[in-house]
């Protein structure tokens, strides 16, 4: 018994001495949301980083997306940052960056990003002329379309090459049964794409909606034409209805394409994996991902985009140097290119987009890459608010009077409502 007790005490002593062996190793806590492909990529890159930096250990934790924002917010509000590096949606960055809870991006790294990253992915990271984080992807909801290959082949029509052709084709195939739309000609209006198309329509006419102070003004002829076109496609041409707005993502545009209830829709490339994994579809067989033609022939295909996922370091982190070393590692073009391919992400850096390795690894991104140069930052505001007002205005016009005067009045009201209710950072 005594021997056993002695052995136990010796073991306890040895165990208590273990932490001392780890002295000199800095632990960086890293939080992301749960996404199988993204998490797997991060795990691989963390192993690579730890091998190259034996003095740093990454404690990688992930959380369900639905609770992730609240979790980050609570953590940063607590003041004693539960993590050192956070994966943050760009739209949330506006809130965080302006409140002094994030560490400023090191000057040299910031200069590199300013030179190489696309404007939309940096816009939300900037506050008072300083950057607070680094982008890892470019969120895009304009420029490419998911097309139901089977339906197009059955119709005998080739894929349209101009926007007007697309609308004309969509009108021919759309079928409405009372309030139910049994076949959608083309989906261009869901919670994400409606505002993206509206703003792109304004920009492609050579117009502008952003004022110098970051607020918006839709009392312009370009906005009038843009809204009239979008409303007309649903209210008069009946190529689409509101299901993708009123039902949220449950019956999102791309899901209707997957269910053979829509000929196609505008969507970001992230839906490709959803169609393949959730619906068992095969790209090139069941659907195609092709370029979206500009709204007007012969114009630059300008569009506004709302950032993407980024990485940031908490201001209260006690291991800021190590944390930034990790973020900079993940943001190196040769690392980022592998991460963007593995996660089916649009690259936030011009150098990655131009890297042949990227296109070789993600050939389905081809329709988008040449359009990234025309991107603009959507504006320094929380996009949930502008999307909500856009959706309501669009649905109200489609459901009632949508004469030129009615559209003008609706745009004036939307501008006024946004001035009152949308915070400009």
């Amino acid at each position: 018994m005594k021997k056993l007790l002695s052995l136990f005490l010796v073991l306890m002593l040895l165990l208590s001495a273990l932490p001392a062996l780890g002295e000199g190793v800095t632990t960086v806590k890293f939080w992301t949301h749960i996404n199988e492909a993204w998490n797997a990529s991060y795990e691989g890159l963390i192993a690579e980083f730890e091998a190259a930096n034996p003095d740093i250990k990454i404690d990688y934790q992930r959380f369900p997306y639905d609770e992730f924002e609240a979790k980050i917010q609570t953590s940063l509000m607590a003041g004693s940052a539960a993590a050192d590096v956070y994966e943050v949606w760009g739209g949330w960055m506006l809130d965080f960056a302006s409140q002094g809870v994030l560490s400023e991006t090191p000057a040299q790294f910031a200069a590199d990003l300013e030179n190489d990253a696309y404007p939309p992915v940096l816009g939300a990271l900037k506050h008072d002329g300083k950057y607070y984080g680094a982008p890892v992807e470019f969120n895009i909801e304009h420029g490419a379309m998911i097309m139901n290959k089977k339906l197009w082949e059955q119709s005998g029509m080739p894929y349209p090459t101009t926007w007007n052709e697309l609308i004309e084709d969509a009108k021919k195939v759309a079928v409405q049964d009372g309030e139910a739309m049994t076949m959608r000609g083309f989906g261009y209006a869901n919670g994400d794409t409606l505002i993206a198309n509206f703003l792109a329509l304004i920009l492609q006419q050579g117009g502008q909606y952003l004022k110098e102070d970051g607020s918006v003004d839709f009392n312009t002829p370009e906005a009038l034409k843009a809204m009239s076109m979008l409303v007309g496609y649903t209210a008069d041409d009946h190529i689409n209805n509101f299901d993708a707005i009123t039902n949220g993502d449950v019956q999102g545009d791309h899901i209707m394409v997957a269910l053979d209830e829509s000929y196609g829709c505008i969507r970001g490339p992230w839906v490709i994996s959803d169609l393949e994994q959730t619906y068992g579809l095969v790209m090139g067989v069941d659907f195609d991902y092709i370029g979206q033609p500009p709204f007007f022939e012969g114009v630059e295909q300008k569009f506004a985009a709302e950032t993407g996922w980024s990485l940031c370091v908490a201001k209260n982190s006690t291991v800021q140097d190590a944390a930034w070393r990790f973020v900079e590692f993940l943001n190196q073009p040769d690392v980022l290119v592998r991460h963007n391919i593995a996660c089916a992400q649009v690259p936030p850096r011009k150098s990655v987009a131009a890297d042949p390795a990227y296109l070789a690894g993600a050939p389905y991104m081809a329709p988008l890459l040449d359009k990234l140069q025309y991107s603009e930052f959507i504006g320094p505001f929380n996009t949930d608010i502008i999307k909500s007002y856009m959706n309501q205005t669009f649905m109200a016009l489609c459901s009632g009077d949508h004469s030129e005067e009615a559209v003008k009045a609706a745009l004036a009201k939307m501008t006024e409502d946004l001035a009152q209710n949308m915070k400009i950072y």
Binding site: Q99, A180, N241, T246, Q392, M395, N421
Partner: protein, 292 residues
């Protein structure tokens, strides 16, 4: 002396819990409503006194959500009370214990499921315009497909149907308990006096059910004023024409979307006052001064 202190000592933990988790948060919410408060901000959460409450006056979204909330609560509570009392009365008249238990279990089952999950099931399986169970059922009677969530005039009825389905089981159980607590002697006496089933219900059962009815009404009112999950899922952004935008979703949007916690707290306190006033009126109207 010991006799005087003992009840307080026994109640102290409970009172402490109520103070910490109920009274203090309400007071905290009141203080926050007087601030320009962003929870992320380290400094600059300044007192603006009653400015947040002034913002509510003439605010279009507040007006819409307030009106929708009152409409929803009034219709929901009215239908809920009538339907649940009727079903409870029918169940208590069943002579077979087995059948009574079976129906009780079946009707209570929706209450066990989380409302968010229930809402998703309705959204995905029952309410879709094409392929939804409700439209398939109605098509048997020649009814054309209805866009339950995308038509401003039917969105609120859709939300009411979902809420009723999810909520009635709880009140049925409470009413059954109340009905079973009424002594049989009163019914027997009424029968001897020649009262029929309807007269017995209105003149004996319903008055004697007063305490249960008052409790059920108050609880249903409070819970329906706070309804959130079904609105958030079935009417994202308030739904078409904001026909499904209620105060709880407005509070969420302002607090967590706009990070304007001061304004969100002002709306919360307004909702709190509305619930308080409505409940007090209801308690006054349904006051019961007797016992059996």
């Amino acid at each position: 002396m010991k006799r005087t202190i003992f009840p307080y000592l026994v109640l102290a933990p409970l009172i402490l819990l109520l103070i910490v988790f109920l009274v203090l948060p309400i007071l905290g919410s009141f203080v926050i409503s007087l601030l320009d408060y962003n929870p992320l901000r380290e400094t600059g959460n300044t007192f603006i006194w009653f400015d947040n409450f002034k913002r509510l006056l003439g605010n279009e979204l507040f007006g819409i959500s307030f009106k929708n909330t009152l409409t929803y609560v009034f219709i929901m509570v009215s239908i809920n009370l009538v339907v649940t009392l009727l079903i409870a009365q029918l169940l208590t008249t069943l002579s077979s214990n087995k059948w009574r238990s079976l129906f009780r279990v079946l009707l209570f089952m929706p209450c066990v499921a989380p409302l968010a999950a229930v809402s998703v099931i309705w959204q995905k399986g029952i309410l879709p315009t094409k392929g939804g169970l409700l439209n398939i059922f109605l098509s048997n009677f020649g009814v054309a497909p209805i866009n339950w969530l995308g038509n401003a005039s039917v969105l609120m009825p859709s939300l009411l149907i979902v809420s009723l389905w999810a909520d009635i089981g709880y009140n049925i159980i409470l009413f059954i308990s109340g009905l079973q607590g009424i002594p049989q002697d009163y019914m027997d006496a009424a029968k001897i006096d020649g009262a029929g089933p309807i007269r017995r219900f209105w003149q004996v059962t319903f008055p004697l059910l007063g305490r249960t009815f008052s409790y059920v009404t108050a609880m249903t009112l409070i819970s329906q004023f706070q309804a959130f999950a079904q609105f958030s899922i079935l009417a994202p952004g308030g739904g078409i024409a904001r026909a499904g935008y209620v105060l709880s979703t407005y509070i969420y949007d302002m607090g967590f979307g706009n990070k304007d916690m001061g304004f969100a707290s002002a709306i919360s306190l307004t909702l709190f006052l509305v619930i308080l006033v409505v409940t007090l009126i209801q308690q006054r109207v349904n006051r019961v001064d007797w016992g059996y």
